[in-house]
Each structure stands twice: as C-alpha cells, then as structure tokens.
C-alpha cells in the first residue's frame, strides 16, 4: 500500500536537501504526487536474506596487457 501523503514540513525538508527552489504550485503538485513515488519505492523492498548479493558486483579492473607483460618481464629479469 502507498505511504500516506507527506506533510508540508516533511516535504520541505526533502526539497531543501535536494537544493531545489520550487514555487508554491510546483511544491504542492509534487507533494500531492509524492504518494506515487513512495508506492514505487515500497515495492522495491521485498524480503531478502542478509546474504543476498547486491544487483551489481564490483570487479577490480584487470591489469592491461601492457602492464601484465611488463610485470612478467620484471619477474623474469629478477630471476
């Protein structure tokens, strides 16, 4: 179920945090639509275990071919 519509004070905090300067009509229109935004974000929170992986897994960039061969050369020269 969508969350309740946000109060003026609470919504004002969000707008200030975003660094926006809305006129009264924009402010009220967006405050009225906020329930739909919360309806979207509520749907994202599905039950997950603590071990559930994030969607995107960070991979460290692989060394470039040039650096790999340079590293290999260094290793060989040390031998």
């Amino acid at each position: 179920m969508p969350s309740e519509t946000i109060s003026r004070e609470e919504f004002s905090v969000l707008v200030d945090r975003a660094g926006l300067k809305l006129d009264e009509a924009q402010f009220e229109a967006m405050r009225g639509s906020y329930v739909h935004i919360r309806a979207l974000t509520d749907l994202l929170r599905v039950p997950r275990s603590r071990k559930t992986e994030g969607a995107h897994v960070f991979h460290a960039p692989m060394p470039s071919a040039d650096k790999q061969s340079a590293s290999a050369d260094t290793s060989i020269s040390k031998e």
Partner: protein, 470 residues
C-alpha cells in the same frame, strides 16, 4: 514515380539498387511531403532541404559509378532531436539547449552516413526525452497523423509522427522506458528497442544511462531489420557498447516461427484490470492466435507483477535523470517546461538507498526473466495501455498518477523488445502488440514480427493525412 512514399524502405532500396529510381527523386519526393505536411503534424523541428538534396546527388553519382553501398544507400531518415549531428543544434526540445550546436556526429549518424543514408530532418522530441506534449515550449508537440487531436506517444514523438505521415521511411528514436515503442504503438509503426548495448549511445543526450538505447521506427518489419543492420555495431567510445557483430536481420522475415516456443505473459495485464483497454488485450490475443496458427508452440509464462518491474525501472530512471540534470534544476529550473519538471523531480526526492534497492530488484527480475526465457524463445506482452489518447487529456499533473507501462520492464532487463501493429480499432486508431526476445536475439523477434505483420495485413492502410485526404 508518383507515390514513392508507399514503397517503404526495402522496396525503395531495391529500386535504387537496380537504378530504376534515383536517390535524388526519392529525397525530392520526401522533402516535398515533409514540407507540405509538417505544418499540420509538427513532426520536424528542422528540415534539411539543401543538405539532403546535396547528399542525394552525391549518392546518385556514387551509385551510377558502381559504388553502391547497400540497402541504406540513398535512403532518407529523420533523427530524434536529442541525437547529435555536427554543425546542427541538438535542442533536446528544451529552452535550456535551444541553441546548442553539436560539434561532432553521434555514432548513429556516423553509421548511417557510412551506409549512404541521408538526413532529411530532425524530429521533435519531448523535452529531454522525458517531458510530455508541452505547448509551452518553443516547438510544441508533434501530432498523431491518424487523428491530429491525438497524442503520438513519447518521447520519440516527432519520429513516430514523421514515419506515420510517410514524410520519411525511417526515423531514429531513443527508448528509456518505452520511448520508441509507445509512439510506434500509437502511430501504427514497427518500433524496435534492441538489446542494451547493440547501438552506441555516443552523441545522444543522456536521460538514464543504464536503461536507454536508440532504435529504428519504420512502416514494416523488413524496413526495420534493414535499418538495424546499419545502426548496430561495437563502439569502443561507448562504455556500454557490446562487442557483438550485427546479424543479417532482414533475412529473418522469411523464416517463420515453426518450432519456436512463445510464452504469453498474461499476468502483466490480468493483474491490472484497469490498466489496459479491452481492445489492446484483444490485439494481444489476436497476435497469440496468429503465431499459434503459424506453427509456434504457445505456452503461458507468469512473471512477477508488472508493478514490480515498473517500480524498479522508474526509480532507476528518475535517479539517473536527476543526477544528469542536478545542476540545471538548481540554477535554471525556470527554463524547463512543466511536464519535464514534473517527471524529473521525483529523482530529487529519492534516497541513495532507494536507488540501490531498485538496482537489487533489477538484478532479481533480470534473473527471473532469464530463467523464464530458458524455456521459451520469445515472450508476447501487451503493446501499450490502449490506443492513442487525446492530447488535451494529458495535462501536467497526470504523468505521475501511477499509470503503468508494459514497455518499461524490458529497459530494466535490457532485452530486445518490438512493437508490431495489429490493425485499427473501430475509431481508426492503431493497436499493437509487443514481442520480447532473449538478449541479443533480435533475429527471433523479427521472425515473429513478420508473421504477425503478414497475417494482419494492415500495412496498406494509411492515415488520411498521409494519403492526402486531410
């Protein structure tokens, strides 16, 4: 030849190759139509009369000298005005960038130019590919050629209108949540959103970088496949570009669907009884029957509710778009139109955790779809929420009212997805269905699309304005 516009891309290409028609004749014909119809349909923000005619003469000379480049040689096209052409403004449909001149060609334009295609004009776009039909902006919205009071859909609104009015046989749109497919559905076109990474995004104004791709919009399936062959390909300058060779997609149109297994995703619309019109559901059922009659095995596939896919797509889109527009929203908000403000603002109200939760949900839903598609070759999904609505019914404030999209899920998953017309409703407005493939399997999508197009047989029905009766 008096009605070149009825030939479409593939047949025009054949006649150019056999020298039965000249690119000069083709371009002159389409320029005449574009200039005559644009005051009514408002699909172009600029028409390139001089450069198009000059390019046509070059193409003609090349072909006469035996240097024919292939099916796109001498074919005119329109380009959504968020895509760069060196020396021309990329207005993005916004006061903010009204006079921004591009310094380089986009990858899309580079590829089409290399294929010998000819830019006819830049097509109207909803502001920054997200706003609505905004009359407060300098250019105003494109009109739907099937009914000038109707919405084209967006955000590739001018691209849809330009092809439906037959002012050009091909337009390039972009699709972040349905922006190729919705105008294709509303304007009665074939519209392909290829797999994410198939077409380079270089030189296209960003909206939501992890969701968007360019795509061709045409009158027929074969026209579309020919265009994608020219557009697709690896670009090392686009970090999302996929190093996978394009295929001969135009060969798919002769292959049929025998031995294919196609999954019907009914739960998307059945769980939203107020979200989709009866006639768009009938179009879906018609397409399912056509595919079955053509020899495909039809099975039911149930995915998570549409709202779950939609929510993750929207939160990611809003978040990425807000990051892109952050500086301008803080300092130049007054330059945006009301529809764009309304559609960008949600991104500023989200938290970082919201975005990450959407990304986690995205991963889960991609896995779900991938598992489902291990069992089937294609999915069939409703194409739009209904036929094209009246423009006057789309007021600012109506865009965030929870209206769903059955197109958005496949931007979330990066899957190829295509709109195919299924005929007209009793009011003479186009209806359509959506075909979804496995990643990088546009070939199967084109196979099924051609079967539907052939069976429905609606490609000889044109809007009255196109036929010159308006």
């Amino acid at each position: 030849m008096s009605e070149i516009w009825k030939l479409g891309l593939a047949e025009t290409a054949r006649l150019i190759e056999t020298r039965e028609i000249s690119p000069v004749e083709v371009v002159d014909h389409y320029l005449d139509r574009a200039n005559a119809l644009n005051p009514a349909v408002n699909c172009y923000v600029r028409i390139e009369d001089d450069s198009a005619r000059a390019s046509a003469k070059v193409a003609e000379a090349e072909i006469m000298a035996g240097r024919y480049k292939g099916a796109m040689h001498g074919i005119p096209y329109a380009l959504k005005d968020i895509i760069d052409v060196a020396g021309l403004p990329t207005t993005n449909g916004s006061r903010l960038t009204l006079n921004d001149i591009a310094t380089e060609d986009s990858a899309v334009v580079e590829r089409l130019s290399a294929a010998g295609s000819i830019l006819l004009g830049k097509a109207e776009t909803q502001e920054f590919a997200i706003g609505g039909p905004d009359f407060s902006l300098p250019h105003g919205p494109a009109r739907n050629p099937w009914d000038l009071d109707r919405f084209t859909g967006g955000s590739s609104s001018g691209s849809g209108s330009a092809v439906a009015a037959a002012t050009v046989p091909l337009a390039i749109g972009t699709d972040t949540g349905g922006s190729v497919r919705t105008p294709s559905a509303y304007c009665g076109l074939v519209g392909m959103k290829p797999t994410y990474g198939r077409i380079s995004r270089r030189g296209i104004t960003q909206q939501a970088y992890s969701l968007e791709t360019a795509g061709p919009m045409t009158w027929t399936v074969k026209d579309n496949a020919i265009a994608l062959e020219a557009l697709a390909g690896y670009d090392r300058l686009d970090p999302a570009s996929a190093d996978i060779a394009p295929q001969a997609w135009s060969m798919a149109v002769d292959m049929g669907v025998k031995a294919m297994k196609i999954g019907l995703v009914r739960n998307f619309h059945e769980q939203e009884p107020d979200g989709f019109s009866d006639e768009i559901v009938s179009a879906f059922e018609l397409a399912a029957k056509v595919l079955k009659d053509a020899g495909a095995e039809i099975v039911e596939v149930e995915l998570s509710p549409l709202r779950h896919y939609f929510a993750a797509q929207r939160v990611i889109m809003y978040g990425e778009a807000a990051a892109f527009h952050e500086d301008d929203f803080r300092s130049n908000l007054h330059l945006y139109g009301p529809y764009a403000i309304e559609r960008f603002l949600p991104g500023f109200l989200l938290t970082a955790a919201d975005y990450v939760q959407a990304s986690r949900r995205r991963g889960e839903l991609i896995r779900e779809l991938k598992e489902a598609m291990c069992e089937v070759d294609l999915l069939l999904v409703v194409g739009a929420v209904g036929a094209a609505p009246l423009i006057k019914g789309i007021e600012p404030g109506s865009l965030l009212n929870g209206t769903l999209s059955a197109n958005a899920p496949f931007n979330l998953t990066g899957s190829p997805a295509m709109i195919v017309p299924t005929g007209l409703n009793p009011s003479g407005l186009p209806l359509a269905v959506q075909i979804v493939g496995r990643h990088f399997d546009e070939f199967s999508v084109y196979q099924a699309a051609q079967v539907i197009e052939t069976a429905v047989g609606c490609r000889n029905m044109y809007p009255e304005i196109t036929a010159g009766k308006c």
